[in-house]
Amino acid sequence: MRAETPFNQPQIADESRRKFSIEQAIPNLVLGGAVLFLLGIVGYPLIWLLLGALGLPKTFTAAPLLRVFTETRNLTPLKNSLILAVGTSLLSVLLGVPLAWATARTDMPLRRVIHALVALAFILPPYLTALAWIILLGPNAGHFNRLLRWIFGFSEGPLNIFSMGGVILVIALHVFAFTYLLTHSALQSLDAPLEESAQVLGASRATIMRRITLPLVAPAVTGGALLAGVDSLALFGPQALLGSPAQISFLPTRIYSVLGSYPPRYADASALSLILVLLTVIGLTIQRNYLERQSFITVSGRGIRTRVVPLGRWKWPLFLFCALVVILAAIAPLMVLLLAAFSKVWTSPLTPDNFTITNFHAALISNQISTRAILNSFKLAIGAATLGTILGLLIAYIDQRTNLRGRRVCDYLAILPLGLPGTVMAVGLIQAFIRPPIQLYGTIWILLVAYIARHIPLAVRSASGALRQIDPSLEEAARITNASWLQSIRLILAPLIRSSLVVAWLLIFIPSLGELSATILLYANGSETISVALFRLNDLGQLEVVAALAVFTITVILVTSLLLQWLTTRRGSQITDQIQVT
């Protein structure tokens, strides 16, 4: 039976000592506070996004929304965003599915290394890989282009990263992890007899693949591709770095432009944001339906025996393909940044003469913006992770441990940010907190709010899963044994779900440390973050310092991710569960 936390409980009548009644009110205050906070950071900005799109508070008009569909300057980014989403979806299938099959079902060498490198490609902030790709594939000076010209004797080019194709490639090399991971786990949960029975009936290997395996994992592939497409819509960094030089704008860069110049045009930004939300929500809805259809796959829990396909002479060609993908997605960008970070002049080869560590000195110690940014990012990431975890726990607690009316709304509100790209969230937050009663714009607090709001779904999901496994009687036993409500949470519940809370904490910390798309619209003087510093320093052409700061950031992210991986596998759960919601 579900416990009922005394909510909206009237004051004590009998034992009316004051201390007592304050203590009595604590659960209401804490849980009520959590609900109000959630409404404030997610609901309130969303309302302003809607109001803003109607021109409020200055006017009341549908013109901004109409403009999205009537003006070329809005239609072009919309069209480009759609092309991008479709392109990355398709490319993510081409890259992700063969890799998933190779690592899940074959005897290809180094399968686990390939698997780990795909995960690495996913945690690298995409604006950093975009920077690296400019170095690699700049149309004339890029290393790869020079190599290709040297080998094949082209007079120019041949590849141009500053193009729609370039944007799609770089983003796909990041988001294909969605398709890969979903397909991988689907293939792994495919019981061998399904395929073997076909073999017994005389089907060839190709036929089995085409008629049995592929149809069975198709929902996972489609679901992953949709997630990849939806995620690509939101990635401001690579769109700005690679699209802008070729005059290609997307919805997020369009919104950035509309708000970034003067006077800031909130109505247009809001209207464009709503369109972006619409695209995202459509994608996620279809994706959800596909994943539900996936249930016909025989997920019988433990004891699944998957069939390993011997590759024979195809072993090395397939391996080369997989290696190429992960080299392009993770190793090459990392190496380029590493080399630049230790170079005096990044355009020259890293010879002993050209070697230096002063870039790190500049990035970590001497550069005003960079050092302040590192400090800010850590403060924000730690603050957001801590508050977000607490908030996530309380929201999950309200959902599972109370009978509070409207707790479903609360739960929904906490999941909603999954469908909100960072740019969109920023547009809502600016309008909500630029005016009374709560004026946070221009302070670092608005970034804290943004990070908590963006990542609260991860925390709620983690905490919900953990709470579901803890019988409420453990907390009740504490209550009846002298513990106050807060003590029952602090001494019993929190320690029992500690590892889930740590996971939630890391799941907020890691993306917060490198968050760009919301930050770039919200930061102010003094509240620069690492991502902003990287962007701004790059604007100033200080690429060596940028690389050093990037290497530092990636190192921190890697270490924390490994910690996360270790924690989640120790808990016996899959990191893919978490990735699905990011």
Binding site: G138, P139, N140, A141, A240, S244, S257, G260, S261, G541
Partner: protein, 389 residues
């Protein structure tokens, strides 16, 4: 420019505009503000007057030269405030070198937010909407933006706190008659090219429209439209056809002049048509394979200006820094960083010709500001991409 734009502007803008108009010598049909008019010819120049008062000013004021009026500022209060928040579009290497001696001298820290001119202005306006402007002082190379800031009542007259001593060194058309802003630097827009890739250097703006530059050009143009004023200046002087010809060569567009130089240095692109003189100079001085030139037919001159924010959090420290920034010492550092100072008493940057040897093209900012949305849209139409409109 038509009369209708004039009638649409409010009183203060009209005044400013008249000031501009008064100094448009020769009054070309294009209304090109050849305002500096330190032009090579012997025409009567408005800068002559300030220049002649230079002597008097330096003699009557304290030996502290440019920081003459610092005495009027409460230095104790400034030190107590301890910090200045500066919003600037200037290259941070120059900003850092201006700040350092100031900090050494007064122990007051200067924290800055750096972005493109339009973004700096946008940020100030957003913060004004939020009811709390973080900046104490703002600096951007877009006088039009300052007209907007002034119209919104965001600026406080610097003369009231810093004194007007600096005015005599700066041409009257390069400062607000009401004293809310004053030009601090004059960015010259130059042609820059990679010396390895270009054997016969271009001489004129038109040279870069040649087919050999197809896919070889780069230019500076952020999504907020930071480079629109200088491109508009070029269009006014030489026709929009020039820009259209550039656009036809599929130029690479990057957010900042620094990134353009970077593209030229590494040979990603061969030449650019809207580079900052100081960035080009730095690249050359660093021994990179680049060179630059000031075309004879005219050089767009982009005045950068500075102003103080009304009701700032650190008014005294900001005033002190403003005085330092505009004073001879601060401005000399700007010049060392490769900028032409707005002060007539300072030398041109190393290796660069004196201003009077250049045919400078300066924009009528009131007109630009009045027509800005249409201009930005025109740029977007010509080049594509985002222009902050």
């Amino acid at each position: 420019m038509s009369e209708s734009t004039l009638s649409n502007t409010d009183q203060s803008q009209r005044t400013t505009r008249r000031t501009f108009l008064r100094y448009i010598a020769g009054g070309t049909a294009l209304s090109l503000a050849n305002a500096l008019l330190v032009a090579c010819g012997g025409s009567t120049t408005p800068t002559a007057a300030p220049a002649s008062t230079t002597q008097a000013a330096t003699t009557t004021n304290s030996p502290a030269a440019g920081t003459a009026s610092a005495g009027a500022i409460d230095i104790d209060k400034a030190k107590k405030e301890g910090v200045v928040q500066l919003y600037t579009s200037l290259d941070t290497q120059i900003v850092d070198s201006v700040i350092k001696p100031f900090k050494d001298k007064y122990g007051i820290d200067v924290q800055y937010y750096r972005a493109g001119s339009a973004q700096v202005t946008g940020k100030v306006l957003q913060e004004a909407d939020a009811g709390k402007i973080q900046a104490d002082m703002v600096d951007a190379s877009d006088v039009g933006a300052f007209l907007e800031l002034k119209r919104r009542g965001i600026l406080t007259p610097y003369q009231a706190v810093v004194g007007s001593a600096m005015n005599q060194f700066v041409a009257a058309d390069l400062r607000d008659p009401d004293g809310t802003w004053i030009a601090d630097r004059l960015t010259q827009v130059v042609i820059q090219y990679n010396t390895d890739l270009i054997k016969t250097p271009p001489q004129h703006w038109k040279d870069l429209t040649d087919q050999q530059y197809n896919g070889k050009l780069a230019f500076f143009g952020s999504s907020a439209g930071d480079s629109a004023p200088r491109l508009y200046t070029l269009a006014k002087a030489f026709g929009y056809e020039l820009l259209e010809s550039y656009a036809a060569l599929k130029p690479l567009r990057v957010d900042t002049p620094q990134l353009v130089t970077q593209a030229l240095e590494k040979g990603e692109r061969a030449a650019t048509f809207n580079m900052n003189d100081n960035i080009a100079q730095r690249s050359k001085l660093q021994g990179k394979p680049t060179a630059y030139l000031f075309p004879d037919e005219g050089v767009p001159t982009e005045p950068g200006a500075a102003g103080l924010i009304k009701n700032a959090a650190h008014p005294n420290a900001a005033a002190l820094f403003f005085d330092w920034w505009m004073g001879a010492e601060g401005q000399k550092i700007l010049v060392e960083g490769g900028k032409y100072s707005s002060r007539t008493d300072l030398e041109p940057p190393k290796e660069n010709p004196p201003l009077k040897s250049l045919k400078t093209l300066i924009l009528d900012y009131a007109e630009y500001q009045a027509n800005r949305p249409e201009i930005l849209q025109r740029m977007a139409k010509i080049f594509g991409g985002e222009w902050g409109v």
